[in-house]
Symmetry: C2
Subunit: 227 residues, 2 copies
Amino acid sequence: MLGWEAIRAEVLRRIRARDWPPGGLIPGEEALAEEFGVARATVNRALRDLAEAGVIERKKRAGTRVAELPVRRARLEIPVIRLDVLGRGLAYDFQLLVDRMAPAPVPVAARLGLPEAAPMRYLETVHLAGGRPYVLEARWLNPGVLPPDPPDFSTVSANEWLVTHVSLVSGDIAFTAEAASLREAEVLGVAPGTPLLVAERTTHGTEGPVTLVRLAHAPGHRVQMVF
Amino acid sequence: MLGWEAIRAEVLRRIRARDWPPGGLIPGEEALAEEFGVARATVNRALRDLAEAGVIERKKRAGTRVAELPVRRARLEIPVIRLDVLGRGLAYDFQLLVDRMAPAPVPVAARLGLPEAAPMRYLETVHLAGGRPYVLEARWLNPGVLPPDPPDFSTVSANEWLVTHVSLVSGDIAFTAEAASLREAEVLGVAPGTPLLVAERTTHGTEGPVTLVRLAHAPGHRVQMVF
DNA sequence: ACTTGAATTATGTCTAGACATATTAGCCAA
DNA sequence: TTGGCTAATATGTCTAGACATAATTCAAGT
């Protein structure tokens, strides 16, 4: 019997073969269900999957059309740093370098949508892999949205605690290549100006902005994704 | 009536509230369906979605359990470079710098799973945004798996042609920060050693490895993702 | 010409029931 | 104890039919 994956494969084949050209409408679910001899729900499952992959675009009443330019999507799994390190077969450790309250600098407040100079908690942590510096984490935390039991971040990594104790709703991540600042060079043990892969993340919870974190990775770091 | 999104929200709430602790089994689909007064298919839809998000892990016969460490997933949309540039409100253009056949270097052949020194097509293209260098694209193409109508890559960007003419099955992307080589510095118009964000992609089609491409981005480039 | 509203239609979701499939637990034999 | 077979079970998928929802079309009224 034909399964939804077979339907998906056949639809994809026809799109690749230009049977159904980019931008064109494809037959409705009912028509496809009849053609393939399956229930409409099965066709729906297949088409929904293709829509998620960006191959087709679907709108009620308007029907389903082939995407003009197939946008490929890749998935990045953002691991807790400890597991990332252990997954590479190295011993993990971290050190809390800074933990203090400070007014949010303008760019930080702006990115999180908080008032300027709002009181925030600033944490600086260096994560170690096999005893060597792996990532320098600079984190701004919005104390207003945290659960009422503040842990000691010198024994529990903020990175890890947040994942399990704050329900994150949305966020974004950006990668850039930057020259190591004096501070970064010192902590990571490299020459100033060395190219570093920097990840900047903001996260928002149900009750507002939670944290902005900048991760400066040691040279040679690769961020890998599959699709 | 309760929809699958409501079910998903309630299950997520219970997980966050530690009603169902990390690593623990949650009730089966049938039990939840009865509790919420919906069909099992509706519960299945909700749980499948949570599994895709990495919140729970499901196995036949073994049941559904709360993921030990919630892995957050972000989605990267990989645009065709032309659209990426136009999307930033800049004029797009490109120049083909190199197009020749060459034996695959060892690391290239290894990454693609091809025999050493296999004959490949090597393309070097610089993409321009607003008249200024934006990306240097260095691409190794496996000529064995291409459709029989080779286009002229000096008028059609390889980047764009491949997306629409080869059915890609899988691939991976890796981002690194690297110091600009002499060649990269020259083409991009920056000083050698400048930190560059480099993306390296391999793609595989139904008939084998298709291409390996290295994109060296001009300084300041950001790769942005949401989750 | 312009706006409003209703009919139409394709996708979105749901139900109840069924069979498929993977995996585990338990049993039995070597 | 160990290996392998079997039965039990939770998830995976499918069907046929129904109603919900959004978006378009088109007609009517201003």
